[in-house]
């Protein structure tokens, strides 16, 4: 109902609780408090450990085919073995590294490009903005996945580096758009005008004054790009455009598909890599949500009034003889 929504007002908080943390500081505390952030961080930590110390965790190496093929899950092989006799669990553990490398490398490359393009477009405005935005929009509109497939197919079996470059060069447009919007909204903030009036150069203003205020958006952009990279890379490898000898989840999926794992009684071989991809992606997504909430207090879940608060108030009201009917705060 248009009227009802218009007149709902988020009342201004009193000055006491306007004490926000400055961007960047106390990030740890924020992550700890936010449930989504904690979950995402723990997941990511888990995978990081797997990636850094695969040897300590996986009982066997990735490619050793010493075992009987198509074994069901057992104590020796937690998820069973593949059609070629490799231990699925070990494969998963070793595959983590490649996925994480892709995630961070593509995330980094993508974010780097989107920051340069987005911020320059918004700050320079005019013709430069027109050109950069056009370029961004074209990339945004082109369906990237088919495009990536085309490119990867052109290059034949794409190694890790190729995948990283291709994904990175095609995945920045969304972030660039977001950053451009944000900078546009900031551009006329007085502190930027103050820097201009002071006589600062444009490059200085962009790097020193604008970027630090956008750290949360840049981090969110990075997480989004990482998520996209993990999923798309797995997809590319699954189709067979990756290097079939690589040690990664996507390749596992490829081989599982080729050997009809689901039908032939080795379901975990097909399912588990998918689960891992999903979990890693979820960790980035959770962290992304959490960053949104941390940087924008309006999105935070509102703390419910605690029973202790209510009791205290109730007692005080009773002592002051306020009539029962008007003692509110009963609803949670």
């Amino acid at each position: 109902m248009a009227v009802q929504t218009i007149f709902r007002h988020q009342a201004v908080e009193p000055s006491a609780s306007r004490r926000r943390r400055p961007p960047g500081a106390n990030l740890w505390r924020a992550v700890r408090h936010n449930r989504k952030a904690t979950a995402g961080a723990l997941l990511l930590l888990f995978f990081l450990v797997l990636a850094i110390f695969p040897g300590q965790i996986a009982p066997y190496s990735y490619a050793s085919t010493n075992f009987a093929p198509a074994l069901p899950p057992s104590a020796a092989h937690w998820f069973g073995t593949t059609a070629l006799g490799q231990d699925i669990f070990s494969q998963l553990v070793y595959g983590t590294r490649e996925s994480l490398i892709i995630a961070f490398a593509v995330g980094g490359l993508s974010t780097f490009i989107s920051v340069i393009v987005g911020v320059s477009a918004a700050y320079l405005r005019g013709f430069a903005d027109g050109v950069l935005s056009l370029f961004t929009d074209v990339l945004l509109v082109i369906p990237t996945f088919p495009l990536i497939i085309l490119i990867a197919a052109y290059v034949r079996s794409a190694g890790l580096l190729t995948i990283i470059i291709v994904l990175g060069l095609l995945g920045w447009s969304y972030g660039a758009r977001q950053l451009r919007s944000q900078v546009l909204s900031l551009r006329d903030r007085d502190f930027l005008e103050s820097a201009r009036v002071r006589g600062e150069r444009s490059l200085y203003i962009i790097v020193v004054e604008v970027l630090p205020t956008m750290t949360s958006l840049i981090v969110a952009s990075f997480l989004g790009a990482a998520l996209y990279a993990v999923l798309t890379a797995a997809g590319l490898q699954f189709i067979g455009l990756g290097d079939p000898n690589a040690q990664s989840w996507g390749t596992m999926l490829y081989w599982a598909e080729n050997n009809e794992a689901l039908g032939a009684g080795m379901p975990l071989w097909a399912i588990m890599p998918g689960v891992c991809v999903a979990l890693l992606g979820a960790s980035f997504a959770l962290l992304n949500y959490a960053f949104d909430e941390i940087s924008n207090p309006a999105l935070r879940p509102v703390r419910k009034m605690m029973k202790a608060d209510l009791d205290g108030l109730d007692t005080a009201a009773r002592l002051r003889n306020v009539p029962r009917a008007s003692r509110l705060g009963r609803e949670a």
Binding site: V3, I6, H9, A11, E13, P14, S15, A16, S17, S326
Partner: protein, 392 residues
């Protein structure tokens, strides 16, 4: 000797009967002095609004009492953070989490509206009371025409036909001196002053008994402000609705309001007739505020302003909340949170006007000190006769 009630100067007889025997509590009086008792349209008693924050509960509005008679213009004045907007939303039942009413009652025309659901409120919202917000650009839907928004309102709260709605919309626009041809304009096509007047027109669609206004003029320039105020006053006198007008600009509302409530740190610091408050401000905060306005006529003087800042409401000072900044502070002020005292019909929350000087009138609302087990009472601190009580 605990705090004892004494007869006030005004309404003394009425109040004596209502108060209980010798005891620690001074019970609530039924009417605040200064209001016409027969047709109170709004009674706010002990209203408290709190915000739930990580640091605990912050009491943005602390036990506020207000009465409003039919057709009365009440100005609520204070600076940012004093709780005046929160009070307004608390009265209008427009609070959303993390803010909520945590105590007290709001009676509109005799019936309690605090705690009612949206569904229950729909019957009286807009028909009996309406709200004008601070910035029309934030409150008016930018993609709908004025007529469409008025139609929304009418349909939500009544069964009028489309033709009737159109006629009524044109009528209210004419009331605020806007040509009805603007019914089909979008808000951004109207000037700032016109937008505000369109908001007021919307608030008057059902000629409510009470219109609540939250700084409707602060986004306007001084000339448009003046003409809008004159318009509001005219409409009020013509249609007879009561107004609660919240603003930070005391002088703006001074020519138009019947009574004025000055708020500080979530409490009502002073409440009284406008003229009386301006001519004889009692609370040191009100005095400071009045002195902070440079005047355009009259002799030029050096002005001071009020040093310091309002207190952090998460940890309000133990005594009077204005004490840290008060030029007339005394020792008891630092530990006692004063109740409202009555002086000549003007209610003021300041120990300078405490009973103990009987001619100054009684404490009307109980002080926190009178809770059993709470801290020392006034007399326990040896304040039988406070040292500095200036006559104002």
């Amino acid at each position: 000797m605990k705090l004892r009630r004494r007869s006030g100067i005004t309404d003394g007889a009425a109040r004596t009967g209502a108060l209980g025997g010798p005891g620690r509590f001074v019970e609530r009086v039924q009417r605040l002095p200064g209001t016409r008792t027969d047709d109170a349209i709004l009674e706010v008693r002990d209203l408290s609004v709190a915000y739930v924050t990580d640091a605990g509960l912050v009491m943005a509005v602390d036990r506020v009492d207000l009465d409003l008679a039919r057709g009365e213009f009440l100005g609520v004045v204070g600076e940012s953070g004093c709780g005046k907007s929160t009070l307004l939303f608390g009265i209008a039942q427009l609070l959303s989490p993390p803010a909520r009413i945590v105590g007290g009652s709001v009676k509109f025309r005799g019936s309690e509206i605090a705690g009612l659901s949206d569904k229950q409120l729909r019957h009286i919202r807009w028909r009996d009371y309406s709200v004008v917000m601070q910035s029309a650009m934030n409150a008016l839907n930018p993609v709908m025409t004025v007529a469409a928004q008025m139609r929304d309102v009418c349909r939500a709260h009544s069964e009028m036909s489309d033709l009737e709605i159109r006629e009524r919309s044109a009528e209210v626009l004419r009331l605020v001196s806007i040509d009805p041809v603007h019914l089909d304009s979008h808000p951004h096509q109207l000037s700032g002053g016109m937008r505000q007047r369109a908001m007021i027109a919307m608030a008057l669609l059902f000629t409510p008994d009470l219109v609540i206004m939250d700084e409707p003029t602060s986004a306007l320039d001084v000339v448009a402000q003046r003409s809008l105020m004159v318009q509001i006053k005219e409409l009020q006198q013509r249609l007879g609705f009561a107004v609660i007008f919240v603003t930070h600009d005391m002088s703006l509302v001074s020519n138009f309001s019947d009574r004025l409530a000055v708020m500080y740190a979530g409490q009502v610091a002073e409440l009284g007739g406008t003229r009386q408050l301006f001519d004889f401000p009692l609370h040191p905060y009100t005095q400071g505020l009045l002195e902070a306005f440079p005047s355009i006529r009259g002799p030029k003087m050096h002005l001071q302003g009020i040093p310091g800042q309002p207190p952090d409401l998460a940890q309000p000072p133990p005594g009077c909340r204005f004490a840290p900044r008060c030029a007339k502070v005394t020792a008891p002020c630092l530990t006692i949170d004063p109740p409202l005292f009555d002086k000549n019909g003007d209610l003021v929350r300041c120990l300078l006007y405490k009973a103990g000087r009987p001619e100054l009138g009684a404490a009307i609302f109980p002080s926190p000190q009178d809770r059993p087990g709470a801290g020392p009472s006034l007399s326990d601190l040896g304040v039988a006769n406070p040292e500095r009580t200036n006559d104002q």
